[in-house]
Each structure stands twice: as structure tokens, then as C-alpha cells.
């Protein structure tokens, strides 16, 4: 438990630190009094038993080693004193080894940047408040490096050691390192009544945080309740901090507290925990960067639908009192799993055992179990019975432990565990037909993994922190029923009056109009970015409107926007051929702008030698593979398609598969994503250097012999090698039954966040290539993406061009993606088109180099009038082959001719416009 107690030690150089005396007293006497007194300077170094290692140098990708002497063996925490990095946004990533052994099992060590509000809360024209932008908080001297949010500690024996530091990302300057002993933070002891504080209550508003260690822990607004402070039924007021961005272990918010006089204070919180039903969320409390006593290492915040108040107290209701001397202090709350820690560890073990069993089952039965066969699983799989019995026993015991914590029956986590137990018992009771339970087994297993993930998400909202005299009744604002009703009525009336459509309040003639079809959160983000960055620097106002109409309707009515962003791939040419878009080659600097994308990224947006859109996102496929499973079969990641086919053969013999899913066009909108995004055929054609259209762009090459061969090869993957046409590659990759596959590179984010058990076991690389006659491998692949354009009917084309340049610039692209990610989670990360923006985003350095490597091979096909029919034809041909087993070449010829007809017809129609 000790490891989790100190998550971050922070010392403002000018603030008196209480750490040294606390720790030294606790360490040397091992007593339980918590007496804090002043101590200036770097408190960590003054801890009894601390070892200071002076660095005073720059650490970069070349490693630096330091020698030190350890006087007494024990377990030590590591802290950095005075660390400054050169990276703009990212945390510092490094590796630390002591005596050539990694202290973190080779996992990357992270040193978080700290962030604070840049200025005051921003207010828009109608009085709605928005959180301030975040800026780096540099006034810090001591920081703990962490692994996955947990502070690192290491065992050291007496004697000489050396410690080596290497930076995997960026460079930083380090003053010194301090290693100090892990102390048992003592237990709470009740102080004398005479030392109680008895003055006025001090209230700290949650949204006024001093700093936080994640850029996305911003203050929020809840307009639905009259119980929050402050509240207003007509406008959004910033009134709390936390929310779904404050849920991962290690995330921490720190407030500044001014204690009026010396004494012991009672601590209570106005909070809301409505994220985890019927369970508690936990936080570690630190005063001035130190956990005051062991009970403060996990404060429970129970579930409740509404805002509530909780006093920090023990089970009997006696409040735990915190000593504060007169003056300024910091108070921090850090996310911790609290009492769930052991359960999560046990569940992780159980789940990996279950996963192994499932994998072995699949190797025997294949994906679909044949019901007329007895598989004899208990004979073929070693120790299956014993393992299942152990798993069942462990699950029952875990369930008991969970009940003890939550104290309530029937929480969702317990039912997931029960379900898994039930399936395991069914299998044990039906030994001969156990294989039939395989799909049940699988779904319970995935639910259990999901449950482990969910248990580590502990969101909490803090409205106010209240320190007061102990046992004093806090004047609760008992909001009466009458007040609540009045509030609701006011809000209802305001919904008729408020203008929800325009996100900004700009009415000037010179303002640009931008239509977005995004949600309110994303539109707000966009508007913020524009107001604080674009408008500030160029002086051009932009009126952002959330509109759910198509551009065509806008043009008919004559009331359209000046520019549009994030259009589907085929749209720019579609609109350009009808004369709706403005040719961007009219601007002299367009060639410079194109340099910020990968070469050729703008190819789909040319029409008749005019450029009608800039790419604002670009996505492409990469190959994902599981090294652990491939190793079992002595396979390496294939580099060419021939090698991949060999891999498929080996895997199919063991009832495993390869995931090359195919995207069927299911509705009218999907064809507009462009050919490259939908199937693998364009990629294969690129690798064989076959263009998709004839040189004059009036017909496709789909009926030519080379393409027919390529299509034949492509469909044979599904018809002869029996790959699955529609699977959830992510799920199959996770459970191991599809250890290799192709997917859009954004799957990496999903794997990083949702499948932590696979960390270090999966890799991504460029798609398999095709060898040409000279033996060179062509790794090209086709892509998809969106574009942004200027409309012809705009009267402000020059200003609109400025906007497009800003929008596709590195800052804006990165900011938009990260801001949306902050609201919607990492899965909302955008596949930016600007290469610089991509480099600034929080991918690990290994992922960054793989993706950049694959990205430079991406080749785009042009778009032509009628290209939707090309996508549809490929889709139709593919389906006829895979569903009805028709000949692939016949089908492609038939549908290719349709596509040719359509392209010719549309091109001729728009030739003269």
C-alpha cells in the first residue's frame, strides 16, 4: 500500500513546506502524531535517510549515469528536483535503470507537466462562461516520476550503486535526484480538543484549482441543478471541476488553502459522484504534497445521483481532523483505486488465465463450434479441469471481497463476476459438451475485462471544499423544494428564449460564417479555438453556426457559409464540378500550404487542374500484430503479401485467423468516404502501380486485365483462404484469435486505452507490400480523409483562405484533436493531415515512428465525377463474389462497366460548366 500513498510531491519554492519535519519525525520515531511545522527549501532532501544525487546537466537520448552510495537498505521513492523540459505539450518520457536493471520492468516512465488556468474564466457575449485556456505551470521544484499513474519505488541494498537516465522523448534539464525511504505514513490519532480550530468556515471553490497534472482537467459547468455554486438558470456558469476527465489513476488537482489560524480543521466536500453506480470513487488527500496520515490515502466518495456533501470521517462518523498552521497551504486530491486495488490485481490474474483457456479452446474448435462433435476439450487441453476449478474458486472469493467493500448486493461488477463463474461451472458440469459454452465463455470473459477497465475509471465532480471548525454544523444551503421548482421553471422558459444555434455572438458584416455539423461540445471547442487564436491573431471574426443542413440546400437558398470543413472525401469534387466551390489555386501561397501535408494528400481534391479543398484529415491502414502469439508459431511479421499468405496458412491450421475486414457500403453516405477508405483493392492496385482511372479521367481501369487479376487475388483471400468478411478485428485481436490484421491506424489509440492488458505485446507496422520484378517491395497504400473548402458564393474569399490556412495549420489541428479528446476521450483523437501536428500529439515515440513510416507510403487516387459509383461497383462485385460465389472477374467486368458508364456520363454532363 505504501507505494500509492505519495503520488506527487510538490513544493513551491516560496511556500513553507512541512514535509521534511513530518517525514523525519515519522521515520525516526515511528509515532503517530502529525505535527507540522515550517521548513523552507527543498524538503525532500532534508528527509532523514534521503540520498541526493546531483545532476545539473541535460538528459537526452544519450544516457547519463550517476554513482551514489546507499547507507542503509530499504525501499526508496525516487523524486526529481528541478526538472525543465523543452517539449511544448507532452509529458517527459524516460527510462531509468539502477545497476543496469530497469526499475519499472521496462515500462516507460512518465513525468507529468503541470497545468493551470491562463487568465480568468472566459465569458461570451451572452454571459455564458467557459473554462480558461490552460498554460504550463512552471513554479514547481519537486516532481515524482510515475508509471501508469503510480509512483515508483525500488528496493536498494546497502552499498554503492549507479543509476542511468535516458530520455525517450525530448530533452530536459535536471538539477538533482533524491531517493528517500518509503515510510509508513502513520495512522491517525485524535488530537487534543484544545488545539481545535474554532473560527469561521473557509470555502474553496472547486473550479479555482491552483494546478493540475493533466491539461484536460478543466473546470466545468452544470446548469441543471440548483445545488451547485454558483448557478444561474439562464446562462452557463462555471461551477465545478472534475467530470469524466478526472478518472484515471494518478490524475491530480491541487488547490490553494489559506488557513486563518493554527489548529485542527474538519474537511468536507460538496461533490457529485454519479459515474459508478452503487460504488465508491476514491481520492488520495495530500496537504502540501504529503499524505497526512494513512486513512487519508483513500477517501471514499459514495455514489449519488445529485450533488451531495460528505465530511472526511471514519465509519462511525467521527471526522478526521487535519492540522494546518496559519497561512498558505496546498491541498491535493489524486485519483486512486483505493480499496479496489487488490481486487483489480486478482481480477487481472484471473482474466489472463481465462484468456489463455479461451485461446486454447479456439485452437481446437475453431471460430464456430460444430455442435455435432464432441471435442473432448478436457482431454486435449492440459489441466483444464484443475484450472477451471481454481478460477471458479477465485471468482467466488473475489465476489465476496467486492461485496464487503460496496456493502450492497447486486452491483454491476458483482453480477459480471457471478456470470463468469456460472459459465465456468456449466463447463465443469458438462464435460463432454463443454465446447458449446464457448461463445458464452467468451462474452463473459470480455465483460469481465471491460469490468476491470471500468473499475479503474473513477470520475468525481468537486464543487466546493470546506474547511471548518470540527463538529460544527455546516450551514447547508437547504435548497427547498420550492426553490428547486422555481429554478427548473426558469430554465424551461429560458429554453424558448435562448439562441442555441449560434455558438458565437458576432454580427459584423466582415465576419466569416462557418457551418459545422458537429455536436455542441465540439462546436464549442472550435469556437473557443477560433476566438482565442484565429481571431486574436488575424482580427477576422468567425460566426460558427451549428447547422444540420446540407451544403446543397444552403446554395439553393443562397444563404450559405463562407467555408466548410471536414467534408467527406468525394464531396469537394462533387460540388466543384457543379461550380459551388472556389478554386484555391487562385491564391499565390497555396503551394506553400500544401507542403505541410504528406506529398499527394491533396490529390483527391483536384478537378480539371483546379484545387478545390485542402485535406484536413488523412487516415490509412496499418498492420497490427501480436508478437506473443506469432512467436508461438515461430512466425515473424510478414513484409509481403506472399509472406502473409504463408502466415494465414499456418494460423488456419490452428483455427486462428487474420483480420482483413471489409467495409460494406450500407447507406448512401458511406460511398462518399472514397474508394481508398473502404476496401483493400485500391491499396493492392497502388502497390502494383496500377492507376484507378484512365489518363484522361473519363473511365476506370476496373475492366483491365491487371485490375482483374488484382481483384481475383483480393477476393481469393476470402473465398479460398476463408478469411472472415465482417468481423470485429479489435475484439478478435484482443482475445488472440486474430493475431494479425489490417486496420486504420487509429486502432492504436483504442488498444492503448481499452486493452491495457496487451501493452507491450502488440506492434504496428506498414501493410504488407508487393514485390516487383526487380525484387523491390512496394508498400504503398490508399487512404481516406476529409477536406475543407471555400464556397464560390462567399464574399470574403481572402479571409476564408486565411481561415483555411489556420485550420490546416499544425497548432489548430493538434489543438482541436486534443481538445475534443479531452471531452470525448482518447478514442476521439483525430487523424490529422498536418504532419507537424501529428508529431506533437501524445503518441509514444515508437508508435510515432511506425505511423510516420507508413504514412509516407500513402498514395491517393484522384476523384472524378461519378466516383461514388466506382466505390459502389467494387462493393457490388465484391459481395457477389463472396456471397454468391460468382466468378470474380465476371463480376468486376460487369460492375466495372457500370462504373465506366456512370463516370463517362457525369463527366460529359459537366464538361462544359
Amino acid at each position: 500500500m505504501n507505494k500509492r500513498l505519495l503520488n506527487k510531491l510538490v513544493c513551491k519554492s516560496k511556500i513553507k513546506c512541512y514535509v521534511a519535519v513530518l517525514l523525519s519525525i515519522a521515520f525516526s520515531f515511528g509515532t503517530s502524531t502529525v505535527a507540522l511545522s515550517a521548513s523552507i527549501g527543498n524538503a525532500v532532501e532534508n528527509i532523514n535517510g534521503a540520498i541526493t544525487i546531483k545532476a545539473d546537466c541535460e538528459i537526452s537520448s544519450s544516457s547519463k549515469t550517476f554513482l551514489f552510495d546507499c547507507p542503509e537498505s530499504g525501499e526508496f521513492y525516487i523524486a526529481f528536483n528541478g526538472i525543465q523540459s523543452d517539449l511544448a505539450y507532452n509529458d517527459i518520457e524516460m527510462k531509468i535503470t539502477i545497476d543496469s536493471k530497469s526499475i519499472s520492468d521496462n515500462e516507460s516512465i512518465n513525468v507529468s507537466r503541470l497545468w493551470t488556468d491562463d487568465g480568468d474564466i472566459r465569458v461570451d457575449g451572452k454571459g455564458n462562461e467557459f473554462a480558461a485556456k490552460q498554460k504550463s505551470f512552471d513554479d514547481v521544484s519537486v516532481i515524482y516520476p510515475t508509471v501508469n499513474g503510480n509512483v515508483i519505488s525500488t528496493q536498494l541494498n546497502e552499498g554503492e550503486h549507479n543509476i542511468t537516465l535516458v530520455a525517450t522523448e525530448g530533452k530536459y534539464n535536471l538539477e538533482s535526484m533524491v531517493l528517500f525511504p518509503v515510510d509508513s505514513i502513520s495512522k491517525y490519532s485524535k488530537p487534543n480538543k484544545s488545539e481545535y480550530y474554532n473560527g469561521d468556515t473557509v470555502i474553496i471553490e472547486g473550479e479555482d484549482a491552483l494546478y493540475k497534472n493533466s491539461r484536460w482537467l478543466i473546470s466545468q459547468s452544470d446548469g441543471d441543478s440548483a445545488l451547485v455554486h454558483p448557478y444561474d438558470p439562464y446562462v452557463n456558469k462555471i461551477n465545478y471541476i472534475g467530470g469524466t476527465n478526472w478518472k484515471k489513476i494518478g490524475e491530480e488537482i491541487t488547490w490553494s488553502v489559506d488557513a486563518p489560524s493554527d489548529g485542527y480543521y474538519q474537511l468536507s466536500f460538496d461533490y457529485r459522484q454519479n459515474g459508478v453506480v452503487n460504488y465508491n470513487c476514491y481520492r488520495t488527500l495530500k496537504i502540501d504534497g504529503v499524505v497526512p496520515f494513512s486513512e487519508a490515502s483513500s477517501i471514499a466518495f459514495p455514489y449519488g445521483v445529485n450533488w451531495n456533501n460528505t465530511v472526511f470521517s471514519d465509519e462511525d462518523g467521527n471526522p478526521f481532523l487535519i492540522y494546518l498552521s496559519k497561512g498558505n497551504h496546498t491541498l491535493s486530491l489524486t485519483v486512486t483505486v483505493g480499496e479496489y486495488e487488490k481486487i483489480i490485481k486478482r481480477l487481472n490474474n484471473v482474466v489472463s488465465g481465462i484468456g489463455n483457456i479461451y485461446f486454447e479452446m479456439t485452437m481446437i474448435t475453431g471460430e464456430t463450434v460444430d455442435l455435432s462433435r464432441d471435442y473432448d476439450l478436457f482431454e486435449l487441453i492440459d489441466n483444464l479441469e484443475q484450472n477451471l476449478k481454481n478460477i471458479s474458486r477465485e471468482l467466488i472469493s473475489i465476489k465476496k471481497a467486492m461485496l464487503k467493500i460496496s456493502g450492497r448486493n447486486g452491483g454491476s461488477y458483482e453480477s459480471v463476476v457471478s456470470n463468469m463463474n456460472r459459465v465456468v461451472n456449466e463447463m465443469l458440469n458438462h464435460k463432454y459438451s463443454a465446447a458449446r459454452y464457448k461463445s458464452n465463455f467468451y462474452s463473459s470473459y470480455t465483460s469481465l475485462s471491460q469490468c476491470i477497465n471500468d473499475m479503474q475509471d473513477l470520475p468525481l465532480d468537486i464543487d466546493r471544499i470546506i474547511i471548518s471548525a470540527p463538529n460544527k454544523e455546516i450551514e447547508k444551503d437547504n435548497v427547498s423544494f420550492f426553490e428547486k421548482s422555481v429554478y427548473s421553471i426558469k430554465k424551461f422558459i429560458s429554453s424558448f428564449v435562448n439562441d442555441y444555434e449560434s455558438v458565437s455572438e458576432i454580427n459584423s458584416e466582415k465576419a466569416l460564417t462557418l457551418w459545422v455539423g458537429l455536436g455542441r461540445d465540439q462546436s464549442r471547442v472550435l469556437n473557443d479555438m477560433i476566438a482565442s487564436d484565429f481571431t486574436k491573431n488575424t482580427g477576422i471574426d468567425v460566426n460558427v453556426k451549428m447547422v444540420n443542413a446540407s451544403i446543397v440546400q444552403a446554395i439553393i437558398s443562397g444563404k450559405g457559409p463562407d467555408m466548410i470543413i471536414q467534408q467527406a472525401r468525394t464531396e469537394p469534387v462533387n460540388l466543384a464540378m457543379r461550380g459551388a466551390l472556389y478554386d484555391l489555386t487562385n491564391f499565390e501561397d497555396y503551394k506553400d500550404v500544401l507542403k505541410s501535408f504528406m506529398p499527394g494528400a491533396e490529390t483527391p481534391y483536384y478537378y480539371k487542374n483546379g484545387l478545390y479543398a485542402l485535406p484536413d484529415s488523412q487516415v490509412f491502414s496499418m498492420m497490427f500484430y501480436r508478437e506473443d502469439i506469432l512467436k508461438k508459431f515461430d512466425l515473424t511479421a510478414p513484409k509481403t503479401w506472399d509472406e502473409l499468405i504463408e502466415v494465414i496458412k499456418v494460423l488456419s491450421r490452428n483455427n486462428l485467423s487474420v483480420g482483413i475486414p471489409y467495409t460494406q457500403i450500407l447507406d448512401n453516405g458511406q460511398a462518399s468516404a472514397g474508394v481508398g477508405a473502404l476496401s483493400l483493392l485500391p491499396t493492392l492496385m497502388q502497390q502494383r502501380n496500377i492507376p484507378l482511372y484512365s489518363d484522361d479521367l473519363i473511365s476506370t481501369t476496373l475492366t483491365s486485365p491487371k485490375v482483374l487479376d488484382t481483384f481475383d487475388f483480393y477476393t481469393s483471400l476470402y473465398t479460398k483462404l476463408k478469411l472472415n468478411v465482417s468481423i470485429s478485428f479489435y475484439n478478435r485481436f484482443r482475445d488472440g484469435t486474430c493475431p494479425i490484421g489490417l486496420s486504420s491506424y487509429t486502432l492504436a489509440v483504442t488498444l492503448m486505452t481499452e486493452a491495457p492488458e496487451l501493452d507491450g505485446v502488440w506492434k504496428m507496422s506498414v501493410v504488407p507490400g508487393t514485390k516487383d520484378e526487380n525484387g523491390n517491395i512496394n508498400y504503398s497504400s490508399a487512404g481516406g480523409g476529409t477536406g475543407c473548402s471555400i464556397l464560390n458564393m462567399s464574399n470574403h474569399k481572402e479571409e476564408a483562405w486565411e481561415f483555411l490556412k489556420w485550420w490546416t495549420g499544425a497548432e489548430a489541428q493538434m489543438n482541436y484533436s486534443m481538445n475534443v479528446e479531452a471531452i470525448l476521450g482518447p478514442l476521439a483523437r483525430a487523424s490529422v493531415s498536418n504532419v507537424e501536428a501529428f508529431k506533437m500529439m501524445p503518441w509514444t515515440s515508437e508508435q510515432k515512428s511506425s505511423i510516420l513510416n507508413a504514412w509516407k507510403y500513402v498514395q491517393e487516387y484522384p476523384e472524378v465525377p461519378g466516383s461514388y459509383q466506382v466505390a459502389r461497383s467494387i462493393d457490388m462485385a465484391f459481395y457477389s463474389v463472396s456471397n454468391s460465389n460468382k466468378s470474380s472477374k465476371d463480376m468486376l467486368v460487369k460492375w466495372g462497366q457500370e462504373a465506366d458508364k456512370e463516370v463517362l456520363r457525369m463527366t460529359k454532363k459537366y464538361e462544359n460548366r
Binding site: 464456430t368 460444430d370 455442435l371 455435432s372 461463445s439 446543397v552 446554395i555 439553393i556 462533387n574 460540388l575 457543379r578 461550380g579 459551388a580 460494406q664 457500403i665 450500407l666 447507406d667 448512401n668 453516405g669 460511398a671 462518399s672 465482417s726 461514388y868 459502389r872 457490388m876 459481395y879 457477389s880 456471397n883 454468391s884 457500370e898 454532363k909 460548366r913
Partner: protein, 303 residues
């Protein structure tokens, strides 16, 4: 003589004019929102209009393309007519029979049963999504999992993506959905039949319930039946949204695409409003033809 015109106008006004005044709001909206769009469709069908530039008059080119140059249209017409001919009469007869049977019950049972059968249509046409789960293509769809556990199949069947099955399934779903307005209308028509006729019929030699239905009940309901028929034709030809959401557009091999979804595609995704207008004129003509046929069939009732 000259005062007479004034007087007769007032008389006319008091007698019949009042009815016209009461009809006026409806007529004006009807003309504005139904007749005018239909007329403008006909006019647009002679143009080429892509919504961004002005319409260009092209004469009969759209119709030429429709009949001579459109390969998919043949499949689509075939699908539409299949739906119309199978679903239309079946659903119509079913709703009459159902209304007839429910009419037998006491009033409370009638209310409950009516509610049960009318609910799918009541929910605004989104209830069919239940069928999507039932016939889902993965092994967890109800039908698939049942068949898999019974051992009848080994791989889950892609119901909506397989041209062999999807037509049948969609016909069934359409039948289920179509217990709509015409069912209620039939029920009310049945209730308004003159009771004395049954007594007279019993005396005059009606042999069984079936005779009674054919010779007495249905002829008295002729106007309601005609109304039901018109509604049915309209409903059956406008099956489009359901198909797109269940089987995707375009469905595999265009196997279940109907005229309405095709028009939606041409107009909505390809922006060829002129051709879409021509197709909708075609649809209109088809529906008029069917209406005439049905009207003549209904005249045969009771003969």
C-alpha cells in the same frame, strides 16, 4: 331582374357556400403542399436540375434514359411490383379479415386487441428495428442463435445481405407493419353496417358467415374499402425507408431496392433532380393505374 343575382348568391352561399368555406383551409393547404409539388415534379421531369445551377430544359431525355438506358431500373421495378402485388392484396385481405374477427369480440376485448395490432404502425414506423435484432447477421441475432443452437446451421446466416432471404423477410415485416390506418378504418366500417340487414339476410337465405360477409357486409362497406385500398396502394409503393435501414442502400445486387429508395438515391446522393422527378412521375402513374384496377375489382363486390 338585377336584384335576383344578389339574392341567389346569398341563397347559394347559405346553402352550399358554407360547405366550401369550411373546406377552404384544407383545400388551400392540400393544393399548396400536395398538388403544387406534384405538378412541379412533372415540370421538373423535363429538365436537368442539379440543385446548384438552374434547371435546364431537356425535353424527354430523362424518360428516354429511364426506359432505354437504365439497367438497374428493371430490377427495381421488379422489386417494387413484387412488393406491391404480394404485400398489397395480402395485407389488405388480412386487415379486413382481422377487423372482421375482432369485431366479434366484446368491446373491451376489442379495444385491447386493436391496440395490440395497431401499435406497430402507431410507433411511427420505427418498430421494425426489432426485426433487425431478430434477424441480425451475427451469431447473437435471435433467429441465428436459435438455429445455431438447434444445430440446423453452423454459420450464422447474413439474412439481410443474402438475396435469397432478404426479400421474403422484408415482405413479412411489411405485412406486420401494415396493420395501420386501413385496419382501423375497416373496423369502424364494420361497426357501421346496418344491423337490420343481417336479420333480413338470415330470413332471405344467407347460408353461412362467409355468404354473409361477401353479400352483405362488404358491399355496405364499399366506400371504406375503397379508402382502405387507396391507402394500401400508397403505403405499399412507398416502402423505401424500411428497406434502406434494414438491408442497406444499395442492397446486395439491388435485390430489395424499390423505386422510392432509388429516387432517394438519385435525388439525394447524385443530385440529379430532373431524373428523380421523372422517376417519381413514373411512380405516380403506376399508382394511378393500380387505383383504377382496384376500383374496378371492388365494383365486382357482391356480384
Amino acid at each position: 331582374m338585377k336584384t335576383n343575382t344578389n339574392g341567389s348568391f346569398k341563397k347559394w352561399m347559405n346553402k352550399e357556400g358554407l360547405y366550401y368555406v369550411m373546406l377552404f383551409p384544407f383545400i388551400s393547404l392540400f393544393v399548396l403542399f400536395t398538388v403544387v409539388p406534384v405538378l412541379s415534379s412533372v415540370i421538373l421531369s423535363f429538365t436537368d436540375y442539379d440543385m446548384i445551377s438552374n434547371p435546364i430544359f431537356v425535353g424527354l431525355e430523362n424518360y428516354a434514359r429511364m426506359f432505354a438506358n437504365d439497367t438497374i431500373l428493371a430490377t427495381i421495378l421488379k422489386n417494387t411490383l413484387t412488393f406491391a402485388i404480394i404485400t398489397g392484396p395480402l395485407s389488405y385481405i388480412l386487415s379486413i379479415l382481422l377487423a372482421w374477427m375482432i369485431n366479434e369480440f366484446s368491446s373491451w376485448a376489442r379495444v385491447i386487441l386493436t391496440f395490440m395490432f395497431y401499435t406497430p404502425a402507431l410507433v411511427g414506423g420505427t418498430a421494425y428495428l426489432i426485426w433487425q435484432i431478430a434477424f441480425s447477421g451475427d451469431s447473437y441475432g435471435y433467429v441465428n442463435s436459435m438455429l445455431l443452437s438447434l444445430g440446423l446451421i453452423t454459420d450464422p446466416i447474413q439474412w439481410f445481405k443474402n438475396p435469397e432471404y432478404n426479400m421474403t423477410i422484408i415482405i413479412v415485416i411489411q405485412l406486420w407493419l401494415s396493420m395501420g390506418v386501413s385496419f382501423l378504418a375497416n373496423l369502424s366500417g364494420l361497426q357501421n353496417v346496418n344491423e337490420e340487414m343481417y336479420e333480413a339476410g338470415a330470413i332471405d337465405g344467407i347460408k353461412n358467415r362467409w355468404h354473409e360477409l361477401w353479400y352483405l357486409t362488404l358491399p355496405s362497406m364499399k366506400s371504406i374499402l375503397l379508402f382502405g385500398a387507396v391507402m394500401q396502394i400508397q403505403a405499399v409503393f412507398s416502402v423505401g425507408g424500411i428497406i434502406s435501414s434494414l438491408a442497406g442502400y444499395p442492397s446486395v445486387d439491388n435485390s430489395v431496392d424499390t423505386l422510392v429508395s432509388y429516387i432517394g438515391d438519385i435525388g439525394g446522393s447524385r443530385y440529379e433532380m430532373g431524373y428523380a422527378a421523372a422517376l417519381s412521375v413514373l411512380l405516380f402513374v403506376m399508382m394511378m393505374v393500380f387505383r383504377l384496377i382496384v376500383g374496378n375489382v371492388l365494383k365486382l363486390l357482391g356480384k
